[in-house]
């Protein structure tokens, strides 16, 4: 199935945006304004939809005219494109979206034609599936792990590099003892934060460690 690569699912949704000329600010502009102010780090709604790797939302105004001799044509509606890459099953993901980020789903899809709201989960899922376009070809570079596994591995990589740097040249018995302590500390460490934080904008030497 082209929507999946290994354990990763690639969802593509095109939701038509409501056109209402009576409004001072049209739906597409209002939606863009909202998306422009939505946090993109650990405060992002997608950080709460914990199986998400990468996601994007795009307001597509029109198709593109590539020049003569091609024909010029235009869409009659604007479309919201929702493209997301996540672990597992589509129904479980849409359920997670509705349960964990109802205010986000409402704020985005209230601008779209036919959005039924979240009062009935099955109806919401059916609506999203009506807007789904099957992916023709999907490529995922890492498709046999989970989001949490990858985040944990990045945390481990950072901790081990720091440990090696700190303990190089020490007697083996001491390294062995400290390594045992490192394993215990890593086992007790809080799970890594999805979406990163402001520290990724800092130079490496100024950052705290993961």
């Amino acid at each position: 199935m082209a929507n999946q690569s290994g354990q990763v699912y690639g969802l593509t949704i095109l939701s038509p945006i409501i056109e209402d000329n009576r409004l001072d600010i049209c739906h597409s502009m209002d939606l863009r304004w909202y998306l422009g102010h939505l946090p993109r780090d650990h405060k992002s709604p997608f950080a709460r939809i914990s199986s998400t790797y990468l996601a994007r939302l795009v307001v597509m105004d029109d198709v593109v005219y590539v020049g003569a001799p091609a024909c010029e044509e235009h869409l009659k509606s604007r479309y919201l494109i929702f493209e997301t890459n996540f672990d597992g099953d589509l129904d479980a993901y849409l359920t997670l979206m509705a349960r964990e980020t109802p205010e986000f789903v409402e704020a985005v899809w209230k601008h779209c034609v036919g959005y039924p709201g979240l009062s009935d989960l099955a109806v919401f899922i059916a609506y999203m599936k009506k807007c789904q376009i099957t992916t023709t070809f999907y490529f995922a570079d890492v498709n046999d792990r989970t989001v949490q596994t990858s985040l944990k591995a990045l945390q481990t990589q950072s901790a081990l590099a720091r440990f090696i740097e700190k303990h190089q040249g020490q007697p083996p018995a001491e390294i062995q003892r400290e390594f045992g302590a490192l394993l215990q500390a890593m086992a007790k460490a809080p799970p890594p934060v999805p979406g990163g934080d402001e520290s990724h904008r800092m130079p490496q030497e100024d950052r705290g460690h993961d």
Partner: protein, 188 residues
Amino acid sequence: MNAITPMKPWKTPILKLLFFLLGAIKPLQKDLKNLSFIHFARWVVVGRNQFPHLSAKQPREELRYDYLLFFSNFNGTWNQYIDAFSAVLSRGLNLIWRWSEKYPGSRPVTEFKRYIALVQFDTDYYYNVYPRAATNDVKAALRVQDALDQFALRSQSLSPAEFKTAWLELLVRVQPDLGSTGVAPVGT
């Protein structure tokens, strides 16, 4: 990156067949895999009658073309990406986009870039679960985790002398994968 290109509908089945073969014959994905700077990429063919129509009040689209949508999530800058695509995947790209109207070919790269700039559109919102990590970082971290998991199981039962040897073996194994993550240098 997002791009949309028009295709004459009679060409769509040919492109879908090519994508089917690309998906079914894994060695054909070798160059895409080896580039190793794309987390996820997808091509989506939207037929001219396939744009969702959800209400009688919504006007139906009347289009002559099918459209090929392309979405990519990659490390680095736009120029680095297009240059690498053109240099490494030239033949594959041409097989995919030659069915789109006015596609100039992926070489020379200047014409290719002009075309991509024309057909791409901007993202309004983007989320990345690990914004400091390139796809190579993720793969390296997973190798480190696997090596560490294996080593951790036996490390505490070793004598100091045995630990020293095993520790050095671990270091040699993980050394290439210990680079730090962060913001990539800006290319020119």
